[in-house]
Each structure stands twice: as structure tokens, then as C-alpha cells.
């Protein structure tokens, strides 16, 4: 049984370059990297040095404060570099693949027969644990906690996002095994969020879960929005979230006893010649994917979607949580009187540019220009239009700027992570850095309250 929940507020940004449902195989890259920066609040401790031989599933680094949470190599090969940034912060641990595909051996078992501790042990050992994020805060889940529920959003409503139902078709059995394993980890329910229509191949027939369907514009597909709508968090409650591809990886771990780092990503964006789906690996170097597949060379490469993804270089690596790679034009140009022109081609959810004359279905080629300079908060009410939550976003941000922990808590910082408020940043007239302010607030919550 499922009921459709209608969300009115939000915004679908129509971008050019949606991936066609054709699956290609990406050539296996030489190097892979796991990036500690993908995991918020993580203090990594290296488990392997340069020159060490590793197998797929061997730990590269672990969490200093929770040593049982390991981050593992996606391939077998040799650790060739530990790239560091300012103050020797570890940015990437790079592994050169040897092409032998050796994998650590894990336990093959039906998760239904295992105890909670055994399932948790397997997930921690195999390096799949970091796929769990916790709410509040959106950081990697703490293994010793008993989450109230587990939430999975089975669709992504972000611009150009991939269709998980397409990606995972054929993986039904691993999906169900993964869900069975998840059900061991919580006394509560597993909630699936499905789109109002479709997604019937893989997800609709899942067993042992509660299914809710969501209708409405982005961010309806964000797990945080679904959580807030279905069963909001009370203080001191913890919920875990995980993405569908990782559930399948967990399923494969128990079915085959190996760590399977393969992922299917959407390669999309207006600067991609033939946007389509590619089979690749967690942490894969993407230089080979970009080469010869772009229409333009002055572009921004993004691991993830255009609202929340991380900027990478042309030889960057796929992020741990990302199921897509976007390529859009760079916008580092001056535009004479840009603010005064009619703007028939300038997409804006406000009607301040004449693009409202165009069709709603029209697709735009948007670049990375900020289209203005940062200012103080002036226009009110625009964030609320794109955040379908019972939250006053501007007041929350002001509480964060004032570093008022008590107010942040009261105004709902537990309910949101960056992706939920990404659209607020997109629509902001004053060009305020909503997501980085919010992360700063979450960081100080973690610091103050643990």
C-alpha cells in the first residue's frame, strides 16, 4: 500500500542535457581515489601508506574517533599518492589499479539469518558502512546507535538527476537482500520514498518496508524532505539514510561475499555531447570519461548534481555518494548591463526576466556565473517557496550567523542538511552562500552537543 503525498513548494530547474537511457561502459581508469572530504566532519587516519598493496575492500583510512568505520579501496592495486591540502588535510588517497581484480573475502550469508551485531560487523569490515548517513547533521552514521528508522529515497528530483529505477533494473534480488540486511539494524521501519508514478520495476515490490509516494517539484526526492513530511525528528532521535545503489552493494556483499564498488552514473549537462548512463566505479578517475565527450572545453566538472555536487578537475574522481556527473559551462565573463536587459533567455523562477514568456518545458543552458554580487538579506519570502518544510529558513540562517545554538535547535537545524536548502541558495537574490552557512551551523552543533 502506498499513499501519494503532494508537495507544492519547490522548483524544477529545466537544464539541457538530460542523460538518455542508454547504458555505456566506461573504460576502466588507471587510478581511483577515495576522498575524505566527501564525508563531513571526518578526521581521517591513514591505514595504508604510499606503496602499499591493497585489494578491493582493504582499508585506506579510518575515522580517528570511530576507528571501526573504515574507508576502503574500490580496486586492487597500489596506493600511489596521498594528496594533501592546506594544513596537511588529506584530500585524496589515490590507488593505482593493477587490473587483477583481487577482492577481500567477506562472509556470504542470508542477512535474515544473522544478528544485528553480525550484520553491523560485516558492513563495517567491508567498508560499506559510510554509505549510512545520519539525521540530524548528515554525517556518517555512528555504528553504536540504534536508529529510530531508516529512510531511503528511491528517486532523485535534482536537475538532470539519474533514474534509479533504470539504474537498478535487474538488481531486484540484491536490492531485497540489502533491505533485509538494513532491517536488522533498526527496531523501527524502513521507509521508501517513491515518485508519484513509475519506479515500479525495482522498488514498488520491496518487502518489509513502508512505501510513500511523493508528488511535486524538487526537492521532493530529497530524503530529508521525505523524512520531515512522513515522520519528523524529535530531539535526540536519530534516523539513518542510505541511497539505493548502496543498498544494492550491501545486498551483493551478502549474496556474493565481495565488496562491489561498481556504480552506474548519469553523465549529463549541456556541454556533454551524448549524455547517457555509464557503468563505472566508486572513486573512479573521470578523465577518460570526459575525453572526447564534451562540446566545449571551458566547463565546470561537477561530481554530483549542479545544486549540491562538488567541483572537480578534468582529471578528478567520482565522489563516494555521487550517482551522476554534470558538466556545465563556466560563467567567468562580464555581461554589459546584464541586470537591465529584458532577458528572454534568462531562466528565473521570479518573473523579473522575460523568460516567463517562453514555454515552461523549455530547457536552458545555465552557467556558473553568480549573476550578481553578495548582499545583505533584502527580499523576504523567496526561500519559503522552494523549501517544503515547516521551517523559517532565513531565521535559521540568521541564528547560525549569530552562532546561537539554542535558536538553531529551536528553528529546526536537525531537519535540514545542505541539499535540502540548496534551492534556497539558487533562488537567493542576495546571493547568500546558504549551504556553507548551514554546514557551519551543523558543525558547531556537533561540536557543542556531540
Amino acid at each position: 500500500m502506498s499513499n501519494v503525498i503532494k508537495l507544492k513548494r519547490g522548483l524544477d530547474i529545466q537544464l539541457k542535457g538530460r542523460a538518455e537511457k542508454i547504458l555505456d561502459q566506461m573504460d576502466r581508469p588507471d587510478t581511483f581515489a577515495i576522498k575524505p572530504t566527501d564525508f563531513h566532519g571526518l578526521t581521517p587516519k591513514l591505514a595504508a601508506k604510499e606503496g602499499d598493496k591493497v585489494k578491493a575492500g582493504s582499508p585506506l583510512f579510518f575515522d580517528k574517533y570511530q576507528p571501526e568505520v573504515k574507508y576502503v579501496s574500490p580496486v586492487s592495486g597500489e596506493v600511489v599518492a596521498v594528496n594533501r591540502g592546506e594544513r596537511r588535510k588529506i584530500l585524496e588517497v589515490v590507488v593505482k589499479a593493477d587490473g587483477e581484480n583481487q577482492s577481500e573475502e567477506f562472509r556470504k550469508a542470508n542477512p535474515a539469518d544473522l544478528s544485528r551485531d553480525e550484520v553491523r560487523e560485516e558492513l563495517l569490515r567491508s567498508g560499506l558502512w559510510p554509505a549510512f548517513k545520519m539525521r540530524p547533521y548528515g554525517v556518517v552514521a555512528r555504528p553504536d546507535e540504534n536508529p529510530r528508522d531508516i529512510f531511503i529515497s528511491c528517486f532523485d528530483s535534482a536537475p538532470l538527476a539519474p533514474d534509479y529505477d533504470y539504474i537498478l533494473s535487474g538488481e531486484e534480488s540484491a536490492w531485497q537482500t540489502g533491505l533485509d540486511a538494513l532491517s536488522k539494524l533498526t527496531d523501527g521501519k524502513i521507509y521508501l520514498g517513491l515518485p508519484a508514478e513509475g519506479a515500479n520495476k525495482v522498488f514498488a515490490n520491496s518487502k518489509g518496508v513502508e512505501i510513500n509516494r511523493f508528488q511535486g517539484p524538487h526537492p521532493a526526492g530529497n530524503v530529508g524532505i521525505q523524512l520531515h513530511t512522513v515522520a519528523p525528528l524529535a530531539k535526540n532521535e536519530v534516523v539513518w539514510t542510505i541511497q539505493p545503489q548502496d543498498v544494492v552493494a550491501i545486498g551483493k556483499l551478502f549474496e556474493k561475499g565481495i565488496y562491489d564498488p561498481s556504480r552506474i552514473i548519469a553523465f549529463a549537462g549541456s556541454e556533454v555531447k551524448e549524455p547517457r548512463y555509464y557503468r563505472t566505479w566508486v572513486g573512479a578517475n573521470l578523465a577518460g570519461l570526459f575525453k572526447g565527450r564534451l562540446t566545449n572545453d571551458h566547463v565546470r566538472f561537477i561530481s554530483g548534481n549542479v545544486l549540491t555536487g562538488n567541483r572537480i578537475e578534468s582529471d578528478g574522481f567520482l565522489g563516494f555518494y555521487d550517482s551522476m556527473v554534470s558538466v556545465i559551462p563556466e560563467g567567468d565573463y562580464y555581461e554589459a548591463f546584464g541586470w537591465a536587459l529584458p532577458g528572454f533567455n534568462k531562466f528565473s523562477p521570479s518573473h523579473t526576466f522575460f523568460s516567463w514568456l517562453g514555454s515552461k518545458k523549455k530547457k536552458y543552458r545555465l552557467d556558473t556565473n553568480m549573476h550578481g554580487e553578495e548582499r545583505a538579506f533584502v527580499v523576504s519570502g523567496e526561500y519559503e517557496k522552494v523549501l517544503p518544510m515547516d521551517i523559517l529558513p532565513v531565521y535559521l540562517l540568521k541564528a547560525i550567523l549569530a552562532n546561537d545554538i539554542d535558536k538553531m535547535e529551536k528553528l529546526g537545524i536537525y531537519d535540514v542538511v545542505e541539499e535540502d536548502m540548496a534551492l534556497c541558495e539558487y533562488v537567493c537574490t542576495s546571493k547568500i552562500q546558504v549551504q556553507s552557512i548551514l554546514r557551519k551551523g551543523i558543525d558547531s552543533m556537533i561540536k557543542e552537543l556531540g
Binding site: A231, A336, M370, G372, S380, E418, S430
Partner: protein, 384 residues
């Protein structure tokens, strides 16, 4: 444009830190961002951004003020002709008003922008766009006979004490344009009210016999019947501040603000509702002629429409929560009519009602935020 861009690129190093004109960095930046949308790109967070920025928003408001401004110019000429008993064709009439209103606009912008540039430079900030709108609003709420030096003084007062002392655009509590008008209203009352300030007679001319120059509200306040027809009041052929007379022109502006989403429909609608409720109450308990004025006539007299559409909706000084906007707007309409009718000292209540509610807006928001917090807490404990 390319040549100008090159010029800017060449000049830019001199204004950077260490350059010889570093002290004029804000001024340079102000001109540069006026001519060119800068080449800033998103570094982290969202990689794409809405095209709208504060300049665009402000320009939309200025555009929506243009009908009121143009009609105001025409009406100045029209009222002049009535007063002195002349006849003139459309363009002569318009031109008469044009050359009298233009200096006021220029003085307002020059004074205000001068102060903005100077304060931004002093603080090392970027120049903000806020005054683009205030600079246009100030002339429109002034009577035509206000001396130019007074406009300059009022503008300076409004920008410095209404805005900059709070930290500039986005931080002010009171609407700057209304601050300017309130300043003159209390400092030089004889130039801001009475029957002679609204109509430009001009030196050497004499008003025709029987000409009074009283506004509709002044007539009503004195217990006289209103001599202006409803259609004159709606279209704006009545004496009043430069931009406030034509309800039609203001409605065109309102339509632009609402369609573009720049002005809050919640505030506009609730202010009209508030005015209606108060107007009806007064009608029911009417003991004098002013109280008996049909409630809807209040909307086309005086500054009600102008204030509600352009002043009350200023997002910085208005309430900022969705619910707060309803309360804020309602009270503005409610109080504006109350002050207008009941208080004999001020025939115009809109300005004071909006300023009063500007002061109360943070309080309204505070209670809305508190109720949001309470609701969320309650939900949390029920679940637990």
C-alpha cells in the same frame, strides 16, 4: 562595450589594494557593477544561480513607479492649469510638470547616492542598490511646492539616520523614503500640509476665484462634501503628492510588482482588507461626514494606494515571515484609515501607519517565529 570593458580592466589594478586610487575602490566597483554583471562564479554550494539579483529587483520597482511618475508630472501641469484658469494642450501640460518634477528627482538621487557612495567608501563596502528605489520614492511622496533644499535635507536625513546608521541596505528598520517625508512633515509642517502646497501656481500667476487647492481628504476632514468625482480620484486628476494621486497608475505598478513577484501580494491584499474593515466600522458608527465616507473611497483618496503598494511592501522594513506579512499589512490598512478619519491633526494616516508598523514588524515576526518554534516542539513531544 568592449572598449569600456578594456578600460575598466586596465584601470582596475589602480583601485586594488596597494594601487594609488585604492581609496576610491567602492566608487570604482559601483560603476563597474552598474555597467557589467561581474564575472564572479560560484565556488562551492550551488553551481548555478538564478539570474535575478538585487539590481534587477530594484530596477523592477523603479519601472513599476514610472506610470505614477509620468502621471504625476502631467497632473502637476493639469492642476496648475485649473488653478490659474489656463488651457493648454497635453504636451504643454505634461512639460509644465516635467520641468518641475525633474529637479526634485535629480536632487533626491544626487544627494542620496552621494551619501551612499561616501559611506560605502568609508566602510570599505561595496555600494548597495537600495537607494535606486528610495531615490525615486522620495520625490513621489513630496508635495510639488517643496523647496529643493528641503528635499536634499530630508533625503540626507533619511539615508543617514534611516539607513546607514543601522548598517545600510537590508539592515534598516524604517522605510527610508517615508523617513524623509516624516522628517519634513514634522520639521516643516507648513510645507507638507495645508491647501496651498499641492498645486504649483507659479510666481506672477494668480489663482482663479473659488480655487481652493484642498485635497479630497482635507475637504472630508473639515466636514465639507468631497467635490472631486470618483473617476477623477481614481484616474488621479486631484491635488496631492506628486506620485500618489492616480490610483490607476499605481495599480499598473502594483500589477508589475505582483507579476514579477517583487512585491508581496500578502501585504497588499491584507492592507486593503484592513482598510476595508476599518472603513466599514467607521461607516457603521458614523457620527460625522468623514466617518460616513464610503470605505472604498478611502482607497482612491490620498496616499493609501501608493503607500500600500510601494511603501508597505518594502521587504526590509516589512514583516518577513509569511504569517507576519498578513498581520502587518492588515494593521497598516486598519490604522491608516483610523488615523486618517479620527485624528484631526493628520489628514493623512498612511505614512504614520506604515512607519508605526515598520517599528512593530520585528515584534510581529518575533511572535510568528515563536509560534513556529512552539508548534515544532509540540509535534516533537507528541511523537516521542
Amino acid at each position: 562595450m568592449k572598449a569600456i570593458r578594456n578600460l575598466f580592466d586596465k584601470a582596475k589594478p589602480h583601485f586594488e589594494k596597494g594601487g594609488k586610487f585604492h581609496m576610491f575602490k567602492s566608487v570604482f566597483g559601483g560603476f563597474e557593477t552598474f555597467l557589467f554583471v561581474p564575472n564572479h562564479t560560484n565556488k562551492n554550494g550551488t553551481h548555478i544561480r538564478d539570474y535575478v539579483d538585487l539590481k534587477r529587483t530594484m530596477v523592477i520597482v523603479v519601472v513599476s513607479l514610472i506610470p505614477a511618475l509620468l502621471f504625476g508630472m502631467y497632473n502637476i501641469g493639469y492642476q496648475h492649469n485649473l488653478a490659474v484658469g489656463e488651457t493648454a494642450d497635453f504636451w504643454q501640460t505634461f512639460f509644465y510638470g516635467f520641468i518641475r518634477v525633474l529637479p526634485i528627482v535629480v536632487v533626491s538621487y544626487v544627494t542620496g547616492l552621494g551619501i551612499e557612495f561616501a559611506t560605502a567608501q568609508m566602510r570599505g563596502h561595496e555600494i548597495n542598490e537600495g537607494f535606486l528605489v528610495s531615490g525615486m520614492l522620495i520625490p513621489l511622496v513630496m508635495p510639488i511646492n517643496t523647496p529643493l533644499w528641503m528635499i536634499a535635507v530630508a533625503t540626507a536625513f533619511a539615508v543617514i539616520f534611516g539607513k546607514e546608521v543601522f548598517g545600510g541596505t537590508g539592515m534598516n528598520i524604517l522605510n527610508p523614503a517615508l523617513t524623509a517625508r516624516a522628517f519634513l512633515f514634522f520639521a516643516y509642517p507648513s510645507f507638507m500640509s495645508g491647501d496651498s502646497v499641492w498645486t504649483r501656481i507659479g510666481a506672477g500667476n494668480h489663482a482663479v476665484d473659488g480655487f481652493s487647492g484642498a485635497t479630497a481628504m482635507a475637504q472630508a476632514a473639515q466636514g465639507h462634501p468631497i467635490t472631486y468625482s470618483v473617476s477623477d480620484m481614481f484616474f488621479g486628476f486631484i491635488p496631492g503628492s506628486i506620485g500618489e494621486t492616480s490610483t490607476l497608475a499605481i495599480l499598473i505598478g502594483a500589477a508589475i510588482l505582483l507579476w514579477t513577484g517583487v512585491g508581496s501580494w500578502k501585504i497588499m491584499l491584507s492592507a486593503v482588507l484592513g482598510g476595508t474593515v476599518m472603513g466599514l466600522l467607521l461607516n457603521i458608527f458614523a457620527v460625522n461626514a468623514y466617518m460616513a465616507v464610503p470605505f472604498w473611497e478611502h482607497f482612491i483618496m490620498g496616499g493609501f494606494a501608493f503607500g500600500v503598494v510601494f511603501m508597505a511592501t518594502d521587504p526590509v522594513s516589512a514583516a518577513q515571515t509569511p504569517k507576519g506579512k498578513w498581520i502587518y499589512g492588515f494593521l497598516i490598512g486598519f490604522l491608516a484609515i483610523l488615523i486618517r478619519v479620527i485624528n484631526p491633526a493628520y489628514p493623512e494616516g498612511v505614512m504614520l501607519a506604515i512607519l508605526l508598523m515598520n517599528v512593530f514588524a520585528p515584534l510581529i515576526d518575533h511572535y510568528v517565529v515563536e509560534s513556529n518554534i512552539k508548534r515544532r516542539m509540540k509535534r516533537a513531544t507528541v511523537k516521542a
